[in-house]
C-alpha cells in the first residue's frame, strides 16, 4: 500500500487488495470541461436490511456486481489488528454451496474482470465485472458467502490465509522501501487505542493470534445483510435483476451491527521528529504529516487541491523548487489521505545522496510558508481543479468504477447521489480557501516528521533534532 500512496481520485481511502495487483498504472491524464456529471440509480432495501443500488447502462454487454460491507479496520479491537483484512481473505475460500477453491475459479472461467476484494480503514468491498448473461452467477456467489460462509470454515483455511496475509505483509511492508519506517511513523502519530493504528495490514503477532472464534464472531457481528450494500451496474433487465436479488439475498437472515464506539482523539500536540534506520532503500526519505479534516469535510477538497499544486507535474511548486532548481530530492509528493474519521496530509521526499534531510525539510518549509503567506496563483488552482474534473470524467468510463463510486458515496455520505456535489467541492475552491487551509491545518507546531535514512548514510550528517528516537528495534 505504501507504493500506492499517490492515489488517483477514485481511491479516497487506503486499501489492501486480496489478490495483489499486477497491472500497469497509466500516468495521470486529463481532459476537463465535463458535462454535468450524473449517475442515475435506484436504491431500495430488502426486508432483511440489505441495501440495493441499481444503475442501468447498456453500452457494453457487461455487468458489475459489487458488495460493500460497512466494516473495516476501524472496527478492530486492540490485539486484533489486521483482522478485518484477514477476514476478507477467508471470504474467497468457499462457503456453504461453493467449493473451497470455487469462488475465483468459477468467475475466471466465465470471463470476470475487475475481480477482487479490498479492505480499507472504514469499509470492505468485494467486486467483479461479468459478461451480462452471468449476472445470476455473480449473485449466486456473493449471496452464498454472505449467508453461508461459516458452514465450511475450517482451521486449515484460516491457517493457510494467515500465512498468505503474513506474506502479503512481508511483500508490501517489510521488504518495500520505507515500508517499516512508515508503519512506525504512523504508529507514533496514532495512539495504540485507535483502530487506525494497525494500518489495516496489522502486526505479525496479532495475525498469529487470530482464532476461528474470531472469524465466527466477526462474521456474525459485521457481515449481516443489514450491514451491507449490494450494487449492480451495467447491462441488465432491471426487473429481472431485482427479482434475482430477492431470490438470492432475501432469505439470508441477519442481525443489527453494533454502533461504532467513540474513537480516541488523534492529535499531534507537539511537533516531533522520528528517526528510523531504513533497511531496504539506499536513499533517505523525509516525511512531514499533519492531522486534517476527514473525508468530505470542509477542508478535504482544499487539501487535495493543495497537494496537486505542490507536487503534481513539473510546474508544481515543490517539484519545481526541490527537484529542478535545487536538485536536492529524487522525488517529492504531497497528498491528503482521506478517511472517514480524520485525514492525514503528508509531504514526502526522497533525498539525493550528499544532501542533508534537514536542508530538504527547510526548503519544504519555505515553499509551504509562501503558500501560507498567500502566494497562490489563481491559475494554479484552476489547473488543479481541471485535473480533478477530468479525473471524475475519465473514471466513469469503466462500469466497475461506477459501481464502486456509487457505493463509496452511499457509505460515506449516505446517498449514492453525490457525484455532482462531489465535483463541486473542487470547482468551488478558491486560492483563498487553499491559503486558509494551509494556515489552519499545516502548522509547524503540530506536525510529525520522519527521517528514514539507511545505515551509515552520508545524508544524516546534518542530523535533525533528536528529541525523540524512533520506536524501531
Amino acid at each position: 500500500m505504501n507504493s500506492n500512496r499517490l492515489r488517483r481520485w477514485v481511491w479516497t481511502t487506503v486499501i489492501i487488495w486480496t489478490m495483489g495487483t499486477f497491472g500497469l498504472a497509466a500516468w495521470a491524464k486529463d481532459a476537463s470541461d465535463a458535462p454535468k456529471l450524473n449517475i442515475p440509480f435506484e436504491k431500495y432495501k430488502l426486508e432483511n436490511g440489505l441495501e440495493v443500488i441499481i444503475h442501468e447502462d447498456h453500452s457494453l454487454p457487461l455487468v458489475a456486481v459489487n458488495v460493500w460491507y460497512h466494516v473495516g479496520a476501524v472496527n478492530e479491537v486492540r490485539g486484533k489488528t489486521g483482522f478485518a483484512h484477514l477476514f476478507e481473505h477467508i471470504m474467497f475460500q468457499g462457503s456453504g454451496h461453493i467449493p473451497d477453491d470455487g469462488h475465483i475459479r468459477i468467475l475466471e472461467q466465465i470471463g470476470a474482470s475487475d475481480l477482487n476484494g479490498s479492505t480499507g480503514f472504514d469499509r470492505t468491498n468485494y467486486f467483479q465485472t461479468v459478461p451480462a448473461n452471468h449476472l445470476e452467477t455473480a449473485l449466486w456467489l456473493e449471496s452464498d458467502r454472505m449467508g453461508f460462509l461459516l458452514d465450511t470454515l475450517t482451521q486449515e483455511k484460516l491457517d493457510n490465509q494467515r500465512d498468505v496475509v503474513k506474506n502479503e505483509r512481508r511483500q508490501t511492508t517489510e521488504n518495500q522501501p520505507y515500508g517499516l519506517a512508515e508503519e512506525s511513523f504512523w504508529q507514533r502519530i496514532f495512539p495504540v487505542e485507535h483502530p487506525y493504528y494497525g494500518l489495516i495490514i496489522g502486526s505479525m503477532d496479532d495475525l498469529t493470534n487470530a482464532t476461528l472464534d474470531d472469524v465466527r464472531n466477526f462474521f456474525a457481528t459485521w457481515y449481516s445483510p443489514s450491514n451491507a450494500t449490494l450494487t449492480i451496474a451495467g447491462d441488465m433487465d432491471v426487473a429481472e435483476a431485482k427479482s434475482l436479488v430477492e431470490k438470492y439475498f432475501g432469505s439470508i437472515e441477519g442481525t443489527q451491527a453494533p454502533k461504532l464506539a467513540k474513537l480516541p482523539v488523534v492529535e499531534i500536540k507537539e511537533s516531533f521528529t522520528m528517526e528510523y534506520e531504513e533497511p531496504i532503500a539506499p536513499l533517505a526519505k523525509v516525511e512531514v504529516s499533519w492531522i486534517t479534516p476527514k473525508l468530505y469535510a470542509k477542508g478535504d477538497a482544499e487539501a487535495d487541491i493543495l497537494g496537486s499544486i505542490l507536487s503534481s507535474g513539473k510546474s508544481s511548486l515543490l517539484h519545481k523548487r526541490l527537484v529542478r532548481e535545487l536538485e536536492m530530492v529524487q522525488r517529492i509528493s504531497a497528498y491528503q489521505m482521506s478517511m472517514q474519521h480524520l485525514s492525514v496530509f503528508t509531504i514526502e521526499a526522497v533525498v539525493r545522496e550528499g544532501v542533508s534531510a534537514q536542508n530538504v525539510l527547510a526548503e519544504i518549509d519555505k515553499v509551504l510558508a509562501s503558500v501560507q503567506q498567500g502566494q497562490v496563483d489563481a491559475q494554479l488552482v484552476t489547473r488543479a481543479v481541471n485535473q480533478f474534473e477530468t479525473g471524475y470524467f475519465q473514471a466513469l468510463e469503466k462500469i466497475g468504477h461506477v459501481a464502486d463510486q456509487l457505493q463509496s458515496y452511499n457509505h460515506y455520505v449516505g446517498t449514492p447521489d453525490f457525484i455532482s456535489a462531489d465535483l463541486a467541492r473542487y470547482t468551488l475552491v478558491t486560492p483563498n480557501d487553499v491559503i486558509e487551509f494551509a494556515n489552519a491545518y499545516l502548522s509547524p507546531k503540530h506536525r510529525a516528521v520522519l527521517v528514514a535514512a539507511p545505515k551509515a548514510s552520508k545524508q544524516t550528517d546534518a542530523t535533525v533534532d533528536k528529541t525523540s528516537k524512533g520506536e524501531n528495534q
Binding site: 499486477f22 498504472a25 454487454p61 474482470s113 448473461n133 511483500q171 521488504n175 433487465d237 539506499p282 481541471n386
Partner: protein, 502 residues
Amino acid sequence: MKSLLLSISIAFLIISCSSAKPIPVAPQVEGTQSDDAKPVPKPQADVTTWRKMPPEVGPAPEVVIPVFEQTQLPNGLTVMVVRRDSLPLVDLSLVLVSGSASEEIQTQGIADLTYEMMLEGAGDRDGVELAEAFADLGSQIGVLTTEDGAAFETTLLKKNLNAGLDLLAEIVMQPTFKKKDFLRKQKERMADLQSLMGNPKYLSTIATPKRIYGDSHPYAHPVMGMPKDVSAFKNRQLKAFYQTHVSPKNAALIFAGDITLDEAVAASTARLGKWKSSAGGKKTSAQNSNETTRRPFSLAIVAKPGMNQTIISAGAATFPAGHPDEWALRVAVDAFGGMFGSRLNMNLREEKGYTYGARGHLDTMFLDGAAVISTSVQADVTGAALTEIIAELDGLKTRPITEAEFHAAKENVLKSVSGWFESVSGLGHAAQSIFERHLPVTRYTDMVAAYEKLTLNDVRRAAATYLERSVMQVVLVGDPSVIKEQLAPLSLGTPEVLELGL
C-alpha cells in the same frame, strides 16, 4: 508525474476499459439454454437444493472488438484511428518504433533519456512551460519507453485536440536539447537509478531478462540503463539518437476516441505533414528472425541482505510477437500461472501459504517474447518453493493440461475481451502496442478467431515446447545467507551470484 516503474516494465500492456462503436466478431452461445430470458424462479422452501448448482444462464453476448484503422501520410508518418464517440475525448499519442533494443552497446539507456529530454524544451518553451501548456488544456504529457518503442501520450477533450497536437508537433520536430537541461536531467536520472537499484523488485525486474536473453541480446539491458552508462552520456549523443530515430517513417500518430480517420489525417497533415527526418528516416529497429535461442537451465542469486522474502523468477525466451504458437502458449501460461486459479498460485499460495501470490505471464515482444513466472516467498521456504515450481513445470508432462484447465483459460479471454477496451486510453494503448510490435491492425479480431480454433492438443504441445524446466533461467533476489543453504539439497547446480553492477 509518471511513475518510474512505467519505464522499466517489460510487461505486455494491460488494456482496460468502454463503450464505442464496436463491431460484432463472432456470436457465441454458451451452454444449451434457450436464449429467451428465463422466468425467474420463486424462492423455494428447500433453499439448499437450488443453491448447490451454478445458475443456468442465457447465451453469451457477442464479442465486441473495436476497429483499428491505419493510413500513411506522404512523408511516411503512419496515422492510426480507433473511434469511440460516446464521450468528447481523444487519447493522442505519438509512437516511435525505436526503444531500448535500438540502442548501441555503448549508450544503453539513451532512448528513454532522449525522449524525456524532448519534454524538457521544444520550440520557445522550456520544460516547465510545456507542462503548463498541457495543464492549461486540462491535460498532462508523458512518455513511456519500452524495449520496442516509445509513446508520447496525452488525453484531451476534443475541443483541445488541435492545440495539443500543436504542442506535440513542437516536441517531436523542435526539441531544444539545451545543455543545462541535459545536465540537470542526467543527475535526476542518476538519482532515480540509485533509488531503484535498492529496490528488490527492480533488481528482479532487470536481472530476469538479462538471464533469459543473454548479455548480448538487445533486450538484456534495462530500459532506463545502468548508472555507469548513464553517467557517461553526452548531450550530443542524445541529439544523435534523436536525429537517427525520431523521424516520420519510424512513427505513428494515434488517435483513440471521438474522431474519424479523415479528421485525423487532416489534423496530422496540417501539423506534421512537413516533418522530414534529417537522417532520411533511418529505421534501425532490429528485424525479428522467428528463431529464438533458448538457453540451458541456470540458477542465479542477486544479493539483497536482510530481506525476509525471496523474489523468485523463472523464465525462458519464446518467440517474436505474431508467432503461430502465440495463443496456444498464452492459454498454457494462463492455465499454469496466469490466472488466480492456476496451478502455480493454487499450489504456492492456496495450498502452501508460501506467498501472497505466484503468477506467470507471456510477454509479447517484437524480437523475442518470454514466458516468465514470478513470486515473492517467505525467505525460509525459498528452497521448498523452488522445488514446487520445478515440480509444476515437470508436471506439465506427467499431468498435462486438462480439458477443464484449457476451457477455463480459453473462456477467460474470450468472455472478457469485450471489456478490455472500456476507456480511450485503453484503446490508445492497444494501438500503440500494435504499432511498436509491427503487428497487423486486425490483431484483436485475429486473436479471437485463433482462440476459437484452439484445441487442447495445441495448448499441450505449446506447454511442452516452451515451458520446459531445461530452458528456465531462475533468478533469486534475497539474502544469500538464508538462500544458499536451502539450494544445496536441490541438486540444481551451484548458483551463480549475479553482480548487476552500478
